[in-house]
Structures are given as C-alpha cells and as structure tokens.
C-alpha cells in the first residue's frame, strides 16, 4: 500500500467552556489510506463531528498534526489553507440547513469555483450541469431554489457542491442519517459510485453501524474523544477487540426474530467530557472493568493487520482464541 493520504497524529481539540476545558478530541492518531472509505462511529458526544471538522480546519485544532499528502495542514497559513481546501470537502448531515435558501442551485454548486476563480461564467454553468447529472439530478434543476427539492435531492446537491472542486478527500458527516431508509441506500450507492469513478478518499462519520459496514473499508470507533478501536471492517465486525465496539455491535437490530444472541447492554450515559474518567475513559460503563483500568494511559494494542484496540485487557479478553 502506498503512503496514506491522511495521517492524523495526536490531534487534540479543547474547547474552553465557562465550567472548564472540554477535550472534545483527545490525542487521536490514525491513518486514512488513499482511495479508502474510513468509517468513524461513536455515540453522540463522542467527538466524531469535531474530529471531522478539525481535520479540515473548520474548527482550529488545539494541537497535533494532520498530514495531508505529506503536508501538515495545521501549519499552513490562511491563504495556503484556502488553496488546500480545493482538495478536501465536506458533506453535511442536514440537507435543509446546508443549502443557502436564497441561492439558486447553480450558484450553490458553483460557489467553490467562484471562490477560486476557476473558469468563466459559462464554463461554470457547464460544470454545474454535468455535476447535477453525475449526482443523479437533471441539468434543468439548475435555476431552482433548494426548497423545491426533497431531502434526498438536496443531499445530492450538497454532494455536487462538494465535488465541484474535484477534491481527493471528502468528510461525510452523518450524510445519510437525516434521510429515509430507502433514500439512504440511494445516496450511499451514489457515494460508492463516486468513490470508484473519482478515486475519492472518504471519512464517513456515522452513528449507524449497519450503514458503516456496508460502505467502509476501515472503521474507527470513538468514545469520549478518543479512539477505542480501529481496524479493517470485516475483522472489526466479526471479532471486535474492545468492549465498547462489542456493545455497539450488539445494539444493531437483526432482521431475524428467532435468533438469540447474547447482548452487551451499556448502562448509564457517556460521562461528562468536563471530567473524563481516569485511565481508560470507557471503564465507568465497561462490563469488564477492573481496578487496573483506572490507572495510566491506554496504549494501542495490535490485534491484527492494521487492527488496534485501546483496551488494557485486550490480550486476556480477545486475543487468546
């Protein structure tokens, strides 16, 4: 495998709240291989959205490196970053608020081209027309306003906007979770299609594990601002190596009422990020927690090819079999 497109090293984002500092993303490191789709999962408040934003510097990271194609984005000046933005884009969750209601579709999609002064008014129109076709809409839709479209169609407009600058990397932030299931599948297939056609690398943020399994090559599980487990999809789904991943996977509904299975049910809520637990942040809800889990940082333990768990008891709980 060649050099990963994105290498994230010790990325941290701290928000200063009146009641103290909140580490939304805490010392996160992982790689996103070129041409892959990496799924980022975790419950609300786990910091996955913040991480996605921090990668693109839509939120300024507090510390750490985001090495994109050999260059640390966090050291770039504002002007350099503006230039680099062409290569990375984002698709949002809410198809309503992600499109300016006062702009026509052609102006929405051409915004990036205009911002970087690419092409003439006419060539931009042609680009918009072909983008609309590419995402499954019609070029006739160009002069309409967002409110004339359904949720799925709006999401396609958002995707076309992100594609206009021909980025290599796309962060899809819960991009299908606001849509009906049938529409979800259409949009997911569109994303897969685009990935193949344009050789895109994607970070797909989601809380729905069944969606992620369908789409992703690699999955990172986040909990309270930290990575709990990361690995290629198949091994991670078949043999999770972290109790949190286990709990998440056992929460996926199975379309078979007769099948019995042992479920790991988590109790309580995610702890306040203002006062994260010492040691392993998951220990307060972990069914396997011991006294030792409260001490010291959790280091990555390799359980397979590119598959790492941040559970201290990985060896005794998961590796032996």
């Amino acid at each position: 495998m060649s050099e990963p497109l994105l290498k994230i090293r010790n990325l941290t984002k701290t928000f200063n709240a009146p009641s103290g500092a909140v580490q939304a993303v805490s010392d996160v490191s992982f790689d996103i291989p070129r041409g892959s789709i990496t799924g980022l999962v975790g419950e609300s408040g786990s910091g996955k959205t913040t991480l996605g934003r921090a990668l693109l510097r839509l939120i300024e990271p507090t510390s750490g490196e985001t090495v994109f194609d050999g260059q640390d984005l966090n050291t770039l000046s504002v002007a350099e970053m503006r230039e680099a933005r062409k290569r990375m884009q984002i698709i949002f969750q809410d198809p309503v608020s992600s499109l300016n209601p006062r702009l026509r579709v052609c102006d929405i999609i051409a915004e990036g081209l205009k911002a970087h002064r690419i092409g003439t008014a006419r060539s931009r129109r042609d680009t918009v027309a072909s983008l609309l076709e590419e995402v499954g809409l019609s070029a006739d839709h160009m002069s309409r306003f967002p409110h004339e479209f359904s949720g799925g169609q709006r999401q396609r407009i958002g995707i076309a906007r992100a594609l206009a600058l021909e980025p290599e990397f796309i962060v899809a932030d819960e991009s299908v979770s606001a849509l009906d299931v049938s529409i979800q599948a259409q949009v997911l297939n569109l994303l897969l299609d685009l990935r193949k056609r344009r050789n895109l690398t994607m970070l797909f943020i989601a809380h729905d594990l069944s969606v992620v399994e369908y789409l992703c090559d690699q999955i990172a599980v986040m909990y309270l601002g930290k990575i709990a487990e990361i690995g290629p999809s198949r091994p991670l789904y078949e043999a999770p190596a972290h109790p949190y991943t286990e709990a998440l996977l056992s929460a996926i509904p199975l379309p078979d009422p007769k099948r019995n299975r042992s479920r790991t049910i988590l109790r309580g809520d995610i702890p306040s990020p203002l006062a994260p637990p010492s040691g392993c942040v998951f220990r307060t809800r972990c069914p396997h927690a011991e006294d030792a889990c409260a001490q010291g940082d959790t280091a990555a333990i390799t359980v397979g090819a590119a598959h790492q768990s941040y559970c201290k008891r990985t060896e005794e709980l998961y590796v032996r079999a």
């Binding site: 839509l58 933005r85 984002i90 499109l99 915004e111 205009k114 970087h116 002069s143």
Partner: protein, 286 residues
C-alpha cells in the same frame, strides 16, 4: 434570470403580502401620498410660498380647498410640498440607519473583538429616549434637513444593528456557512451572499417602521422648534406654525396632523404586512 420553473421565495412573499386587505389598502394609500407629494409641482393648486394678506386664515373650501394659513398661503399646496421634505426625511433616515445598522451589526456578529465595543455603544444609545437623543444631536449638528436625517439615523441605527447582530450570530453557525468556508469562500462572500441575503427580511420590516418613526420624530422635533429650518415646510413645521392659531383656525394643524397619522399608520400596516408575509409560521393563519 427568471426561469419559468423557478418559484422564487420572493414571488411567494408578494402573493402573501397582497392577500391581506388592510395591507393592500395601506400600500395604495401610501403610494398615493408618495406620488402626490412627488409630483407636487404638477398637482398643487397654488404656489406654496405665495402670500396673500386678504386670504389670511381663510377656512377650507372656496379658493383654498384646505384653507390658507396665517400668511394667506394655500394649505393644500403647502401640505404637498411639505410632504416631500417629511417623506425624504423618513426615507433618508430609514436608508441611512439600515446601511449603518447593517454595517455595525455584521461587524459585531462576525468579529468577536468588535462585538464588545459595538454592542456596548448600541446599548448605551438605546438607553436614551429616542426624542431626547434626537434633540441633543440636532442641537449639536444644527437644524437643517440633512442634519435632522443624520441625527435621526443615529438614533435609529441601534435598532437595525441589534437585529443584524443577532441574526448574524445565528446564521454564521449554519452548515451552509460552514460549507462556504470549506469551499474557500472569503469572509466578504460569506457576509454578503450568505448572511446578509438571509436577514434582509427583518431589516426591511424594521426599516419600514423606522420610516414611520422618523416622520413622527421629525414632526416632533419641528413642533418643539428644534427641527429643520421653519422656512422649509414640513408636516411638523406646519403644525408648529398652526399651533398659534388653534382657536381661530384649527384646520391648520388638523390637516398636517391627519396626513402624518395616515402616512404613519399606512407604513406601520405595511411593516406588519412585510413581517407576516416573511414569517412562514404566521403566513399560514392569514
């Protein structure tokens, strides 16, 4: 630009606006006043400055449709010419206050460092009663039409600026603004294309009200004798002059008072109409 398929949100707005009878009526009345004053030289029956000792305080009817004032000048003609001044002050104040208010509001909403100073200044200005602040400012600047416009614009700028700041704070966090930043759009594009374009509605509504307030305030200032030069007829100066003849010729203040009331009422109704037509939640119950 107007593609046949594109039902713009603005077309919808006009349909809603005109669907209310009171608003439609107010628009017609106000347009009529505006046009009559605008074309005063064509429609006025007499020269508004022409004095005639014999016609002094003639009652309405006869040669003078709305009577004549203490110098024998035709009240109707004076009303029409005075309307140009009053309306110009209203419009000027609304426009100036909107531009300044939008500028301050956008700056305060966008740049945290400017927010503190601008917002404190706005709060301080809003702590004064409008008319007192206006009197103080006109005393400093001196009484001319332009100075009254400037003074009243200063008085009403904070109203716009507050609305703009609050709306900016909401909109700048919306995903489409984030998308614009991700695309590499400049702060200027974000300010004007994304934020300003989406807060035009409340600004227009507020500007309409300010138009009305400014006309009232001008009348108030002129009545108190701190407004524009009394030689320039405005509705306010006419009332001020007519005040001395209240017992002999009440019509001297009744007519300008009536035009002021009708214009202000019409503007308020139009402002209400704008607000309702622009607010989709209210629109449904109309």
């Amino acid at each position: 630009m107007a593609a046949p398929s594109a039902a713009s949100p603005d077309a919808n707005f006009l349909a809603l606006l005109f669907s209310r009878r009171a608003v439609l009526l107010a628009l017609i009345v106000f347009a009529a006043i505006l046009l009559l004053c605008l074309f005063a030289p064509l429609v006025a029956p007499a020269d508004p400055m022409k004095m005639s000792v014999r016609a002094r305080l003639s009652p309405p009817g006869g040669d003078f449709l709305l009577g004549a004032d203490a110098f024998g000048r035709d009240v109707l003609s004076r009303l029409l010419y005075a309307g140009r001044v009053s309306l110009m002050i209203g419009l000027g104040v609304a426009a100036l206050a909107s531009v300044a208010g939008v500028a301050f509001g956008l700056l305060a909403g966008f740049f945290r460092r400017l927010d503190g100073p601008i917002s404190r200044l706005v709060d301080a200005m809003m702590a004064f009663p409008d008319i007192l602040l206006a009197i103080a400012l006109v005393s400093i600047l001196g009484g001319s039409v332009v100075n009254v416009i400037i003074a009243l614009a200063i008085v009403y700028t904070p109203r716009i600026s507050r609305i703009v700041r609050a709306s900016t704070l909401v909109i700048r966090e919306l995903p489409y603004v984030e998308a614009a930043r991700a695309l590499g759009s400049s702060t200027r594009t974000i300010m004007f294309t994304h934020v300003l374009r989406n807060i035009l509605s409340p600004i227009v509504v507020q500007a309409t009200f300010i138009f009305a307030y400014a006309m009232l305030a001008e009348a108030g200032l002129s009545f108190l004798g701190v407004g524009i030069d009394p030689k320039t007829p405005s509705w306010g100066t006419m009332i001020n002059e007519g005040r001395q003849y209240l017992d002999q010729a009440a019509f001297l203040i009744v007519f300008p008072g009536l035009v002021i009331s009708v214009s202000v009422l019409a503007l308020q109704l139009i402002g209400d109409g704008f607000r309702d037509a622009l607010d989709p939640r209210l629109a449904k119950d109309l």
